[in-house]
Amino acid sequence: MKITNKTSSTNQTSKALRKVFSLPASMRDVAMHYCSGCGHGIIHRLICEVIDELEIREKTIGVAPVGCAVLAYDYWNFDTTEASHGRPPAVATGIKRILPERIVFTYQGDGDLAAIGTAEIIHTANRGENITVIFVNNAVYGMTGGQMAPTTILGQKTETTPWGRDAQRDGFPLKISEMLALLSGVVYVERTAVNNAKNVLLTKKAIKKAFLNQIENKGFSLVEILSPCPTYWRMSPVEAVKWIETEMVKYYPLGVIKG
């Protein structure tokens, strides 16, 4: 997905070509391993653009998850570590308490944050740790081959729900952002999506707010981002972004949940 500047310099002379689209300083110039149509790459870039704009690259420490985004440190050009599966909020807590002046964020999938790491995200939020959480909800476990995630919607077919998720058997999709919003330690929760250009821009705005909150010492902020996984949704990239709009947002409405 390209975010180009519409007011670009078409009327300027060819000698004075102006660069309107370039790699953020926070991003390494390497090819990503993500499948075509995957949302992780877009979200990585949005984070990098925000970090550049806030001029915090040299004091940011990122915590990558176990999940498809485990290699995020190959793409981010700032200090990054990788936590064990589900534990990025605990790792981020340790870092932030030791280095309160640094900007610390976690990047987590739905399995990481809302299944194995449920306790860590709830208690980190409840302590009101001054960190930023980027929560990528693709309704499926990507890295392990498309099994049911806690956020898989009812009827959705996955490797472990071959006839579709059934509430009786598999439980209900987990609205963890709404749950987290109830906690006193949480200052900001917003759900966005990266299924079209407008939503991408809104996502960037939300990510920026979540980082700004940390810079201003306001406390725990989380952005949940609905993100396409065409590979394990068994769809084309175009069908996948449509599915977010027609199916996913019904269960996971976009907008500010708190703050």
Binding site: R57, E58, K59, T60, I61, V63, A64, V70, L71, Y73, W76, N77, F78, D79, T80, T81, E82, A83, S84, R87, A90, V91, A92, T93, G94, I95, K96, R97, I98, L99, R102, I103, A119, E120, I122, H123, R127
Partner: protein, 353 residues
């Protein structure tokens, strides 16, 4: 100014040892018989303006320690047996990422929830790696409150020096027993400062750093493992610690660690009074294990008696060290039972001493 002598339990002495080693971060979750340590840290870390967190679980605590350590701080967590089982994945990650940390296990009876009585049944878990992957952690086994204090201070230096987690392995008896600490709180102990030129602190003025244990490149993980093994080899050459008693003329030798070694010491001293040629080897590091002194001793004596609060775990390492050079006997109690002097005499008499 602290008093000349103060009375402390082992758990508190470990806490004060950590404070004096400049431990900047502690996270823990309550479990008996180590609760005095968590409570001590809650108070003392606050007094010193350092970080204390009562975490939501042992898993969370070890991962907080992972974060604090990668940010360059001296960090510690403590627990007892079931909680230490929960920390194993995190300890494996610490080793994989070459991060220093101190982990205290005040062992209780198992398996399962077991009981809260003293035990040494987590020996295998501590010295053989514990979590997944090929790795070792240094394991220090104090036998008194004063030694608990001293070894805790040492553990932070060893962890930083080797960039590897260190385990303090005590039992419920040591954790809760009160003993005087002579003067040490008055002394200005030197704190070693290790440059942490690998820590994540933000990339201002340098290239970004990555701390991870995922190594997917062709042969990369094998090379990383080789590097770790070289480190473990160097530790096993340099860091073996033990105490020896009457080995010069001993014909029989007791081998025990932790509080059990004190019971054995009483037995040895008593028998020496009766002109019995008996000695003692007390491993202070359980890994690296003092196998050389055990092997050399085994060549000269008639038998060894290993005494443990387990079904016989260190026993296996003693046998490996002895290599059949003398008979090895065992006296053990399980599930919170503590070997008595009488039981040890009884066993020794069966060995015809």
């Amino acid at each position: 100014m602290m008093r000349e002598k103060i009375l402390m339990c082992g758990n508190e002495a470990i806490g004060e040892g950590a404070i004096q080693a400049n431990c900047q971060f502690y996270a823990g979750y309550p479990i008996t018989p180590q609760n005095e340590l968590t409570a001590y840290m809650a108070r003392r870390m606050y007094e010193e303006g350092r970080v204390f967190i009562q975490s939501e679980s042992e898993i969370s605590a070890i991962n907080m320690v992972f974060g604090a350590s990668l940010a360059g701080a001296r960090a510690m967590t403590s627990s007892s047996s079931p909680g230490i089982s929960l920390k194993q994945e995190g300890i494996s990650y610490l080793v994989g990422c070459e991060l220093p940390a101190v982990i205290v296990n005040i062992m209780r009876g198992g398996p399962g929830l077991g009981n809260i009585a003293p035990s040494q049944a987590d020996y295998f878990q501590a010295v053989k790696g514990g979590g997944h992957g090929d790795y070792k952690t240094i394991v220090l086994a104090p036998s008194s409150v004063e030694e608990a204090f001293n070894l805790t201070r040492l553990s932070f230096d060893l962890a930083d020096h080797y960039r590897n987690p260190v385990i303090i392995l005590g039992d419920g008896l040591l954790g809760q027993m009160m003993e005087p600490l002579p003067q040490i709180l008055n002394s200005k102990l030197k704190i070693q400062n290790y440059p942490k030129d690998w820590a994540l602190t933000g990339c201002l003025g340098r290239k970004p750093r990555i701390i991870r244990s995922l190594l997917l490149g062709e042969g990369e993980l094998e090379r990383h493992n080789q590097k770790l093994q070289e480190k473990f080899k160097s530790i096993s050459e340099k860091e073996v610690r033990f105490e020896r008693l009457y080995l010069e003329d001993a014909e029989f030798v007791l081998i025990a660690y932790g509080t059990v070694s004190r019971i054995c010491k009483a037995v040895v001293n008593n028998l020496r009074g009766k002109n019995k040629k008996i000695g003692l080897i007390r491993p202070i590091t359980l890994w690296p294990f003092p196998e050389k002194i055990i092997r050399e001793t085994a060549e000269k004596i008639e038998g060894i008696l290993v005494v443990e609060m387990s079904a016989g775990q260190m026993l296996e390492d003693v046998k490996l060290a002895v290599e059949g050079k003398c008979p090895v006997y065992f006296c053990g109690r399980m599930g919170g039972g503590i070997p008595t002097e009488e039981e040890i005499y009884e066993k020794l008499s069966q060995m015809l001493i």
